[in-house]
């Protein structure tokens, strides 16, 4: 869907390139998260995809078409790509309704199509249309403004979204909620999303695919699982932090670690210690601690499929990080 081929960006007067020979691909319907310290080039990559910044080398393709083709008008290109930034950038002199209607108006949608669409979008991002439509941005809270920012980017139903720290300006509790809601929306929308963050936890939570950047270079890319279980160097290890194993347990589904058996062990049935197959393994640990058990039963729906024991989890963690221990 989106492909970068040896993309370079050297800003005038800079000694080192901001983006250095970066190639990767984002598949349709995926969220690809760019993560790295500030100044690593992640935002520049995002801004090159919609041509707010022009690369100095290499090519960027969207659906096989080069974005820098002579026939492509950058303004028209951007109207087809949703864009959300941390500072939101709502227009203070326009009502919420007018802000959300911005891109449909640029695309000259008929007016009778725009208003229902705006209403639908506001509902979708969890706002009450009757309450906020006629308000101005300064009358809303930070979290509400972020939601409007997302609604505005989704307005013309673009297949691609670029999101630069979209939930960065709100407090952690609101951020968590916005992330959850966005992931739920994404399950239905199946947009192709490029998402920039400096927070590895957000990257692991949001990403189908993670691209780790440092000093303009692509250091490692892969699924969150691949990156957590096999960090390529010390930089990536430091970025992930010391709680790599617990993060892995959050990502691993119980069914992947289950020891299949048909008989329910007595300890499990006595202490009524069960979890669901789709729950992360971390839930198994929590259940063990709560019920003071060394083993939990795993159910798929109503059906018992096997067990996970404390030993299994220990071995699993050892296998991942054994080489360092």
């Amino acid at each position: 869907m989106i492909r970068l081929d040896k993309v370079d960006k050297v800003f005038p007067g800079a000694s080192a390139p901001a983006v250095d020979q970066v190639s990767f691909q984002v598949d349709e319907g995926n969220i690809c998260v760019f993560v790295g310290p500030s100044g690593c080039g992640k935002t520049t990559i995002l801004r090159m995809i919609n041509r707010l910044v022009e690369p100095t080398g290499g090519d960027i393709y969207i659906k096989g078409q080069k974005v820098s083709d002579r026939g492509v008008n950058p303004d028209h290109l951007r109207r087809k790509i949703g864009y959300v930034i941390q500072q939101i950038g709502l227009m203070p002199h326009r009502t919420i309704e007018q802000n959300v209607a911005l891109v449909p108006r640029l695309l000259k949608w008929p007016e009778n199509k725009i208003m229902p669409r705006v209403k639908h979008l506001l509902e979708m991002v969890g706002l009450e249309p009757d309450e906020v439509s006629k308000k101005y941005p300064h009358q809303l809270s930070g979290g509400m403004m972020q939601r409007v920012g997302v609604a505005r980017a989704l307005a013309a139903d673009p297949p691609i979204m670029l999101m630069d720290e979209p939930f960065g300006a709100v407090d952690p509790i609101v951020r968590g909620r916005l992330q959850d809601e966005f992931l739920r929306l994404q399950k239905e929308m199946k947009k192709t999303i490029c998402f920039v963050t400096h927070d590895i936890n957000e990257a692991i939570k949001m990403g189908d695919h993670i691209v780790i950047m440092n000093k303009g270079k692509l250091v490692q890319h892969g699924t969150p699982m691949e990156i957590l279980s096999n960090p390529i160097d010390d930089f990536v290890k430091n970025l992930i932090g010391t709680d790599r194993e617990t993060k892995l347990l959050e990502l691993t589904k119980s069914e992947e670690m289950v020891t299949q058996t048909e008989e329910i062990p007595t300890e499990v049935s006595e202490k009524d210690c069960f979890i669901m197959a789709v729950d992360p393994v971390q839930r198994a640990l929590e259940a063990m601690m709560k019920k003071d058990a060394d083993i939990v039963g795993v159910k798929d729906g109503d059906k018992f499929i096997g067990t996970i024991s404390w030993e299994d989890i220990k071995k699993h963690i050892n296998r991942i990080s054994g080489d360092e221990a």
Binding site: D75, R79, Q87, G89, M91, P92, H93, V103, Y136, H138
Partner: protein, 237 residues
Amino acid sequence: MIGLLSGNSGWLANFYDQYLGFIAFIIRRWDQVVEYTLNHFSLVLTVMFFSLILWISVGLLISRYEKLANTAFGLGNILFVIPSISVFGIFITIPMLGLGRTSAALALILYAMMPMVRNVYRGIKSVEWPIIEAGRGMGMSARQILFQIQIPMAWPIIFAGIRVTVVMITGIATVATYIGERNLGRFIHHGIARESADMIIAGAILVSVIAILLDYLLGKIESRITSPGLLREQDHN
């Protein structure tokens, strides 16, 4: 004051004589007052008409071509500090212009440059970067960003500049009476020559009334066209 304290023979009449004589003057010279006031008004309106077109364009231009900004401000400042009477004087020596309205209007337009250009520039520059960035990212063209974001958001600052300019031009226009303008400045000018306080006060008060009136009207227009979203004093809820 002496009239007031003596108390004897109608202090009210005395007070009127001493301090409100200009009212009698205005009534006595009503035709002239109307003529001068209209002349004053029309000069100010002419100057403002051309200033708005010219200086808003220049302000927009220098906000885009940053390098021109300092030159424009330098020029505006120099023009602004030259005493008005000498600017009028210089203009009448230019053959095509001479005595009269053209010289007066041109000189006043030059005076308007500093407050207007500066405020247009400041207004455009006051629009925060993320709003422009979002506009670009949504696919707005440079033109759409200028007309749909920058200018509407700059209105309050641009308008402040226009209001200051109007009040200022109304005042300086009185000096144009020395190069043949028959406006309210003439009352002041003649009043000084004849040591007539009534004339001076009549001229000055009428000038102030025009200035206050124009400022009030502009204030009304301003609140009409400024988006309520830009009035930050509104309640946050």
